[in-house]
């Protein structure tokens, strides 16, 4: 707790003296502007459609139009959809890698007393961009594999339970088997996912700060997360608490602001800046903890990182 407070104080000073660090973070902080009001308005519009009969008639005509749509249109639409998803995903990965790389490098520069400017930190992030994107893809694939593994294992257990029932083994044995195997799968999957989540911030820093390849960074990141799980978990929990606390405080404060266009625009801009700064603070906390973790890992494994 004491360590976290000291980290946060130091991170706050870094943000205060280096406002350029917040600029890359703005890209991600301003991304989620889909409000509850928008969702409610959409839901209200949908329910205003009217009775079931009218809807059925309209749906019938719509189905008729869809069936009349030519194959060429479907092919063009399919290609457009695939292209859109591919481009959007690629851009999201690149943007995330660039933002992370720029902030982490900028924080390191600021901590060593150097002047931080968007131009210099961005250049470094672009240089490491490829490795960071590859790292993000590897992390996503691993997480998906763990989730897919958990789902398929659950299906196998359900199948085995069905088999037991079919051959007449029911009651306590079947129940105990299902319970124990489900618990094992749930705990193992949760553990791997937590390890992956904790290894990600360490691995990104190994690429940006230490210049390791994505493969080696992921390996070392996993090793550090495994050896110092509680320490990493503590910092992640502290950062999450900080973010939730800021979000709730800002939400409560924004309730007192008059609901007109200018106020909403300013509140939106203010929330973007606040969450960008918060992102830099949490990343700076990780940067400080990263150095501690690397020293501990080197002492633990007797291998220089």
């Amino acid at each position: 707790m004491k360590k976290f407070i000291s980290y946060t104080k130091s991170s706050y000073n870094i943000v205060k003296t280096n406002p350029w660090l917040c600029v890359p973070a703005i890209l991600l902080a301003g991304a989620g502007n889909y409000t509850r009001e928008t969702a409610e308005a959409e839901a209200a519009n949908y329910t205003q459609l009217g009775g079931a009969e009218r809807l059925t008639d309209a749906m019938g005509q719509l189905a008729n139009m869809i069936s009349q749509t030519s194959l060429l249109t479907w092919v063009v639409f399919f290609f457009a959809a695939v292209l859109f998803v591919f481009a959007a995903t690629a851009l999201a990965y690149i943007a995330y890698a660039w933002v992370s790389g720029a902030i982490i490098y900028g924080i390191q520069k600021a901590r060593s007393g150097e002047k931080v400017h968007l131009s210099t930190i961005s250049g470094h992030a672009i240089v490491h961009g490829r490795q960071l994107v590859v790292l993000q893809i590897k992390l996503t694939v691993r997480a998906l594999v763990v989730i897919a593994g958990a789902i398929s294992s659950s299906m196998i257990i359900a199948g085995i339970q069905g088999l037991f029932r079919a051959i007449g083994i029911d009651g306590f044995i079947s129940f105990a088997l299902v319970l124990i195997s489900t618990l094992i799968i749930a705990i193992a999957s949760a553990y791997f996912l937590i390890l992956l989540a904790l290894s990600a911030p360490v691995a990104i820093r190994l690429v940006v700060v230490k210049g390791l390849s994505s493969k080696l960074a992921l390996k070392r990141g996993m090793s550090i997360a495994k050896h110092f799980t509680l320490s990493c978990l503590g910092l992640a929990a502290g950062n999450t608490f900080l973010t939730i606390f800021a979000a709730i405080s800002f939400g409560v404060l924004s309730l007192f602001v008059p609901a007109n266009f200018i106020s909403l625009l300013l509140i939106g801009a203010l929330s973007t800046v606040l969450f960008a700064a918060l992102r830099v603070i949490t990343e700076a906390n990780w940067n400080q903890h990263f150095e501690y973790l690397v020293k501990k890992e080197e002492a633990h494994t007797h291998v220089k990182i």
Binding site: L83, F84, W98
Partner: protein, 208 residues
Amino acid sequence: MKPANLVKRISAVFVDSLLLIAISLGGLVLAVSLSQNPVETAMLSISFLVFTAIFYTLGQAYLTSELGGSIGKLVMGIKVVRGNGRHLTFKRAIFRVTIGQQLASSLLMLGYFWIFRDEKRRGWHDLAAQSEVVEGESGANLLATIVTFGALSLLSIIFTLALFKSAQNLIMQLEDVAPMIRQMDEGDGNEYEVPDSNWEEPDLSNIT
């Protein structure tokens, strides 16, 4: 290298926007003219807009890396270069056009207004891509102007031809949709009896 004149930069954005609007509208007109019903129109319009966005972005990045700027910039005689005066690489140009522009427009367009504050007239998209916009050569300017007006003239001829067909198509489609909208507004046209509030359910237990 002399930073580009601000009026030229704004005019370049205006020319680029004009071109983008022309291409997008052309795509929409073409979508209407090719389709048989509103669903097909919507599908084709979305597809054309996606293709336009992607190819426009790629085209802008290609022109920036090869000639030093988008068509608007070339027309206005300005170009995007790195600190050493060379053109941007294709990857860096894509980065500038996509993530850089997104960053500049994130916080109430503050990243674009930064041009007025920076001594080298760089916006956040320029700083992120380590580029700057400077005055270019007049040769490229003339060539780009000819290419732009040629392309715009060609597009306008195609659009005018497509417009006639699409207007005809749109009227036909509206005629198809009108009964559907009318039905949704008026119901199915049948009249149903409203149950009387004094009506009591008959006792059927005595019937043998």
